[in-house]
Amino acid sequence: MPLLEISQLKKAYTSPDGGTHVVVDVPEFKLEAQAQVALSGESGSGKTTFLNLIAGILAPDTGSIKLNGLELAGLRESARDRVRATTIGYIFQTFNLLQGYTALENVLLGMSFGPGADREFAKALLKRVGLDTKLNHLPRQLSTGQQQRVAVARALANRPKLVLADEPTGNLDHANAGESLKLIREACRENGAALLLVSHDREVLGQFESVQELGKFNRAAK
């Protein structure tokens, strides 16, 4: 059974002129457990909305999202929050670290809404991403690459089954991007998490054995 199984998924927004603008219209999408898949797509192709639907941040208008056998589409918001806290890790293009929290606290927070804070595991994750000497640094005291690594550690903190990465290297320079991507992939593999990454960067996409073009399976992007 696939880890993620999507069928007939639709999401539309009401535009300022009152019309309906369909952003996501995916008849079918599957992701196997521990698989690593890249989604390519240009700006406005609905990549972020698609990831937010899988993460349960957005509720679909119609369709089905089955994650680890659980149907997300029919769940209330609080139940989707719970699924996100326990099953999903999310890496954002802008890292979205909490500025008032240290690197360690950011990672601990990634756990505390789900399985519960495990200080030793949080430290081990930060050590894995090379930040064992920066545990008590605030995000502003870290370089952009280091902030990204904190975000990677945080995404894995709740021992997720699925890591969603939205243009994770978009804010990094060339050298950092390559290193960061390698780290994300290795860390997901080590922790048994599947990775679904969206990017429009050909170099990033070239690193993946499996690349799917969003424009091909999202009818709204065609």
Binding site: D81, R82, E105, N158
Partner: protein, 399 residues
């Protein structure tokens, strides 16, 4: 624990507004508690204060003026009465002890009260007499003085020191008497108005040079201790209803209570002002948190993206408002102690009545509870805004 971490971090991230808002809570809460405690304690202290006496006999006047003058050593004497009136009431079978007093002089604003050594036989509280703690009691007929503890401290007078009294109840340096008095003793603190009096022999006031010769056979009032307080009804009837020359102020507590009854409206105004200040301070918590919601939106969205439920965020905002109030109310106790200590000092200096800033009063529990509760309630409005934060829209940085 996570929610407490979120609250603590947010308080720290918005440190300036946290401190300013908590300070306004501290001032309002401290003021509210101080107004209440000073009002209640002074009401209790004045109405329970009788300095060890049940009644006052004096010249025909308002009972309140008589009590204020003879017991609290405030106000002017309403007039004198002949020595024979003292002798009459002292002999009355209902009277346990009668103490004649004469006033009319001061030393740097502290009243000289002439009386007899019977003063030292009076129990100002059950089992506690006016006792000379240092030195000795004055002797009748000598120019000797025993100082109340507060007066001695304020005037910096010690046993053996000498001073010239001044004429009148208010200090006027041009009104200096020639007589030279020596301090023979200092009273143990009694926490009564007697603490701020300079006690001298009765003849001292009566025969002070410059006083009306007629006053040598007169006194200002008689302080009366009854064998049975109920007996005051008969004396009241005799002096107040059947006679028209003297006033018998009894019972003292009721006379003072009438004063507080007359100024009850002022208490209400004070209470209202204190509550308004408290309401404004609570409103400042709401304004402070609500105004910062825009800058908090992204953090809220991130927390939600990490799996925090909407009601967790709602609760965090409410708790943050309550936490500001908790911090404010902790500081409010310092404000409260400051205000009550100053107020108690003024009241003691002016009346001799002692208020205890550290004494327990229920408002010290329910004012903090009310302020924290109201602040938490005020937090519901920004909390609803936080609850409704659109996660997907706010995950993108505001540029």
């Amino acid at each position: 624990m996570t929610i407490l971490l979120i609250v603590a971090k947010s308080l720290r991230q918005h440190l300036l507004s946290t401190v300013v808002t908590a300070a306004s809570i501290a001032l309002a809460g401290g003021l509210l508690m101080a107004v209440w405690v000073v009002k209640t304690q002074s009401n209790d202290a004045f109405t329970k204060q009788n300095a060890g006496f049940d009644a006052v006999l004096g010249a025909r006047s308002a009972k309140l003026q008589l009590v204020l003058n003879a017991i609290f050593h405030l106000e002017a004497s309403p007039g004198n009465l002949p020595w024979s009136d003292y002798e009459d009431i002292a002999k009355n079978s209902a009277v346990a002890l009668a103490l004649p007093i004469a006033v009319g002089d001061n030393y740097h604003g502290y009243r000289l009260v002439g009386t007899t050594t019977n003063l030292f036989a009076v129990e100002h509280r059950p089992g506690r007499r006016y006792r000379v703690a240092e030195g000795n009691a004055f002797e009748a007929g000598y120019m000797e003085a025993v100082l109340g503890s507060f007066a001695a401290r304020q005037l910096k007078l010690q046993v053996g020191d000498k001073f010239h009294p001044y004429h009148g109840l208010n200090f006027d340096e041009k009104q200096k008497h020639d007589e030279l008095y020596v301090v023979t003793g200092i009273l143990e603190p009694s926490n009564t108005p007697a603490d701020r009096v300079i006690w001298i022999p009765l003849e001292g006031i009566q025969n002070m040079k410059g006083h009306d010769a007629k006053s040598a056979a007169e006194i200002s009032a008689v302080l009366v201790k009854l064998k049975n307080p109920i007996a005051g009804r008969g004396l009241e009837l005799m002096y107040n209803k059947q006679g028209n020359r003297l006033t018998f102020a009894w019972p003292i507590a009721q006379v003072v209570a009438e004063l507080f009854g007359k100024i009850a409206w002022f208490d209400k105004v004070l209470e209202l002002v204190a509550w308004l200040v408290a309401a404004v301070a609570t409103g400042s918590v709401l304004a402070s948190i609500y105004n910062s919601m825009n800058e908090r939106r992204r953090d809220i969205a991130i927390l939600r993206a990490l799996g925090a439920r909407a009601h967790t965020i709602f609760l965090a905002v409410v708790l943050e408002c309550a936490a500001i109030a908790v911090l404010g109310m902790i500081a409010a106790f310092a404000v409260y102690l400051g205000i009550t200590t100053v107020a108690a000092g003024i009241i003691r200096a002016e009346t001799g009545v002692v208020l205890d800033a550290f004494a327990w009063h229920p408002i010290l529990a329910w004012a903090p509870a009310a302020m924290i509760g109201l602040s938490a309630l005020a937090g519901v409005i920004p909390a609803v805004k936080a609850y409704r934060t659109n996660v997907a829209e706010n995950l993108v940085p505001v540029s």
